[in-house]
């Protein structure tokens, strides 16, 4: 495989803070590469360097073998595009938003209209052309932003946490679109994420990034199977726990993750393992639920993060569990910091990593 982007010894600081530290990494043509790391690890900054929006203070970036300099950065930007984590749309119609990049490229009107129509179809927003972009729902806005990038058919597509602020249904739509364009259009994609589950499912390769450094690079299999302990401890990514597992008489596995927390999983594995529970698979309630789920814990809400239509809560059950609920549910339940709540999830929601 040929490298579309080659980075060597990149460093970048904001003021006195070193944000990227001797980054050496290649992005292969046609692959999906995930940059996996916690918030503040440097993923977004690295993506911006790849988007030629930021210039490293030292090191070298090559795009298709050509070194990126101040003089050719504008030309290089035509060949890549980035979708930001925070959805940003122009104050105009969906059509004009999606068409913006094509107008910058002086595409003829009839061709432009057809390309916009195709892009909207790809993101399942047919018929939305004349609607005001800023009046759409969060998920629809993110899809408009994605269509605006996809319509350009650039060689490199950079996605910064594309599903971070979306509910599971919209997140799933976005992930499906990303996989489709990689398979069908062979678009090279670099995606920054802190979502372990997403990082496992979509990309061909994963680069682990922490404190501005690339700590590991490998295929999904390498990272999640062989390097699982490093992955679990290196970044305190949400709902990732290392512990000792024992197979129970019922054919499930109990994983002791410390502090008296024992998680029951549907797989059978004995020994030291790492597990992950998707925040979206956990049900939060004010009273204990009577259900078939094997895992029921009680804990105290210690952190609340507003993410638009969703709310992320961290609940201390002895270990910190991250739960994601809709804002509507959050308001209806009248939740707040230090509230005691119950967390319920199935054994099948526990994934071995």
């Amino acid at each position: 495989m040929t490298a579309i982007i080659e980075m060597k010894d990149l460093t970048l600081s904001f003021g006195n803070q070193r944000v990227l530290n001797d980054i050496t990494l290649q992005v292969e043509e046609g692959e999906i590469l995930a940059l996996l790391g916690p918030n503040g690890s440097g993923k977004t900054t690295l993506l911006r360097v790849l988007a030629f929006l930021l210039k490293p203070e030292s090191g070298e970036v090559k795009f298709q073998g050509e070194k990126v300099t101040d003089k050719n950065a504008e030309k290089m930007r035509i060949q890549s595009t980035m979708v930001f984590q925070k959805t940003l749309l122009f104050s105009t119609t969906v059509f004009n938003n999606v068409a913006y990049g094509l107008k910058m490229r002086k595409m003829p009107k009839t061709v432009l209209e057809e390309e916009v129509r195709k892009a909207l179809k790809l993101v399942k927003l047919e018929g939305f052309e004349k609607r005001s972009a800023k009046k759409l729902s969060g998920g629809e806005q993110q899809r408009v932003a994605l269509a605006r990038a996809l319509v350009l058919k650039t060689k490199l597509l950079l996605l910064d946490e594309p599903t971070a602020n979306l509910d599971p249904k919209n997140a799933s739509v976005i992930e499906e679109i990303i996989t489709t364009i990689n398979h069908e259009l062979k678009t090279t994609i670099a995606i920054a994420t802190h979502n372990m589950f997403q990082a496992k499912a979509m990309p061909q390769r994963i680069a682990l990034i922490n404190d501005g450094k690339i700590t590991e690079v490998g295929t999904s299999t390498d990272i999640f199977n062989k390097l699982s302990r490093n992955l679990a401890v290196f970044a305190a990514v949400d709902n990732t726990f290392a512990g000792s597992s024992k197979i129970t008489g019922a054919g499930t596995t109990t994983v002791d993750v410390g502090n008296g927390v024992q998680i029951e999983a549907a797989f059978q594995k004995q020994g030291e393992i790492s597990v992950f529970i998707n925040p979206q698979d956990i049900i939060l309630s004010k009273k204990p639920l009577e259900s078939s789920a094997r895992n029921v814990f009680t804990g105290r809400i210690v952190e609340i993060t507003d993410m638009g239509s969703l709310v992320r809560l961290k609940v201390d059950i002895g270990k910190l569990l991250t739960v994601q609920i809709t804002k509507r549910s959050f308001n209806e339940m009248g939740l707040n910091l230090n509230y005691n709540v119950f967390l319920t999830f199935k054994a099948s929601s526990v994934h071995i990593i």
Partner: protein, 239 residues
């Protein structure tokens, strides 16, 4: 109260009088202030874009300067221009004193700080990522700046309207630099001042009402042009 009523009646009389000298005064007011505002917008907009988008040493001092100059007394500016443009002044060779050009130049300078200050706020209120977004979609630096300008358009229109309002309502520059020459550099504000000094209050009040009506009318047109739904909503209001 009687004087105000007679002023209103006089205003309607003037509007329908067919008097060319009256129409000339209104025309000159609109022309001088309109051209002055356009001139100010032409140089204020790039200044506002730089101040709104870029970070550099001394930026806050420059912003502070423009903000503080918003309230410059018009008569002080008028006097300053008179000194510059008079025959003995450094720009006397231009022959601008007591001409429409002097009023236009003076009013353009007068409203520049106001337009810059409001426009800077408008540009700064646009998400700072907008420039990067436009660039990552293939825009050049100037194209990206235009994208930001479009996002700030409501604020820019407000700044332009505020500039025009200040220009057409000022007296000091028109009087000192324009000279209030009848049929040449007299405008609504200088005439109001003249008539009041002569004791012709009803005509002065009439011209003041007309000036207010012009300012109100132009701003209403701008509001409706930006949001035509207002007419629909007003049409559906209960009787």
């Amino acid at each position: 109260m009687d004087e105000i009523i007679s002023g209103i009646i006089r205003a309607f009389q003037l509007i329908f009088s067919g008097d060319p000298s009256f129409y000339g005064i209104v025309y000159r007011s609109l022309l001088f202030s309109g051209v002055a505002t356009i001139l100010a917008v032409l140089w204020a907009t790039p200044i506002a874009m730089v101040l709104g988008l870029k970070n550099f040493r001394g930026k806050s001092i420059i912003k502070g300067f423009f903000t503080s100059m918003i309230g410059i007394p018009t008569v002080a500016l008028g006097l300053f221009l008179w000194l510059l443009l008079s025959k003995a002044g450094p720009l006397g060779f231009l022959g601008l004193l007591y001409t429409p050009g002097a009023i236009i130049l003076g009013e353009a300078l007068l409203v520049t700080p106001l337009i810059v200050s409001i426009a800077v706020n408008a540009v700064e209120s646009v998400d700072p990522e907008m420039m990067n977004l436009a660039k990552t979609l293939g825009a050049s630096e100037s194209q990206a700046s235009i994208a930001v300008l479009k996002e700030a358009v409501n604020g820019m229109i407000l700044s332009n309207a505020a500039g025009f309002n200040r220009a057409i309502a000022e007296l000091g520059v028109a009087l000192m630099a324009g000279g209030n020459l009848a049929g040449f550099t007299d405008v609504l504000t200088t005439d109001i001042s003249n008539l009041t000094s002569r004791g012709d209050f009803s005509t002065a009040i009439a011209l003041a009402i007309i000036l207010l009506a012009i300012v109100f009318g132009i701003n209403l047109i701008i509001v409706v042009a930006r949001n035509p739904r207002i007419l629909f909503i007003l049409g559906r209001m209960p009787q």
